[in-house]
Symmetry: C2
Subunit: 196 residues, 2 copies
């Protein structure tokens, strides 16, 4: 029976989670089985259970790892003394980076959180709400300081988060543009608009 | 057996399609049955078949009605002599209006087109690609005329279409803001940015 071989700096559990994100994204969480997962890793199903308890445990791991990355980046960004617009730019860049570099996990977290069991579901939704609330506060602070236009902060946050999430569709196109260019253009659009 | 009673100016088929969009959105196209649909309209399943052939016929009707609305609005907008930025604003406003006023149908069209049968699937995807291509051309024309910044036109179109599509998530929030305000803020953000 083949053993689960992670690369350098990757634990077995991380390897399984990464493969699972790819599988859930392509096949759909509800339909994908532990047997499919074992197959995609190249091991027998029983050996998976030495490392991970269940499919729902893997989903939890994916969703909370992604949510944790976003939350800790936000906390760190909010603490700095940069101008508010720089902070907003950093948040947008982080979202784009996550979409481009950790796409499968972010996709599963965005689509399959609905399948989390309680109390994890409520916990996950609370984390998302808190994230949005703090982002809205940052926009409000920017408006107070005169760095950001006096506009509805919820709409600003919705527009930004929707735009970066839309990179999901970008993956289908794979237009001929470097990721740096993509990132710079999108950040500039969302901060400064397109009107000349 | 109850008869299908449409309102004024609504055909029976339109009524069925509207009810189906709401059902598909809430229950999922794959899971929703013609029996569920009959129940949501308040008639027996057989009387549905007097008006519509199958579930997939309804899905086609929803997807192509939505796609047709977007395409004909775009064609009309492109023909005018307005400044390019006005045209872009009109397109954004139309998308927001569709999301707010015809949400269930747009949602189903955005999510369930995957379930279309051939040749409808290819036709639908072609319509979407054509729409994006013409929108990209409009942005390029704006840059040529010096009305729009010299930026990557695909990224601009992706950012705009993703932002308006994100109104899908807005429905969950129902924040205390008028639809006019929402529309004006989002259009201003996408054209002129948020930086002061």
């Amino acid at each position: 029976m083949a053993r689960i071989k992670p690369g350098k700096n990757t634990t077995r559990k991380e390897l399984i989670t990464r493969k699972a994100a790819t599988l859930f994204k392509s096949k759909g969480y509800a339909v994908a089985s532990m047997r499919d997962l074992a197959e995609s890793i190249g091991v027998e199903a029983p050996s998976l259970y030495n490392h991970i308890g269940s499919k729902s445990e893997i989903l939890r791991s994916i969703c909370f790892t992604v949510a944790g990355s976003f939350t800790s980046h936000l906390e760190q960004t909010l603490q700095g003394t940069d101008p508010i617009l720089h902070k907003v730019a950093a948040i947008i860049r982080f979202h784009i980076g996550m979409m481009l570099n950790d796409f499968d996990a972010v996709y599963v977290s965005n689509h399959d959180w609905k399948h989390l069991d309680e109390p994890y579901l409520s916990d996950f939704l609370n984390q998302r709400r808190e994230y949005e609330r703090k982002f809205v506060q940052l926009i409000q602070e920017g408006a107070r300081r005169g760095e950001i236009k006096d506009t509805d902060p919820y709409v600003v946050v919705l527009t930004i988060l929707s735009a970066v999430r839309g990179l999901e569709f970008w993956q289908h196109h794979k237009k001929n543009i470097s990721t740096d260019n993509l990132e710079n253009n999108m950040v500039d659009h969302l901060l400064n608009g397109i009107a000349k």
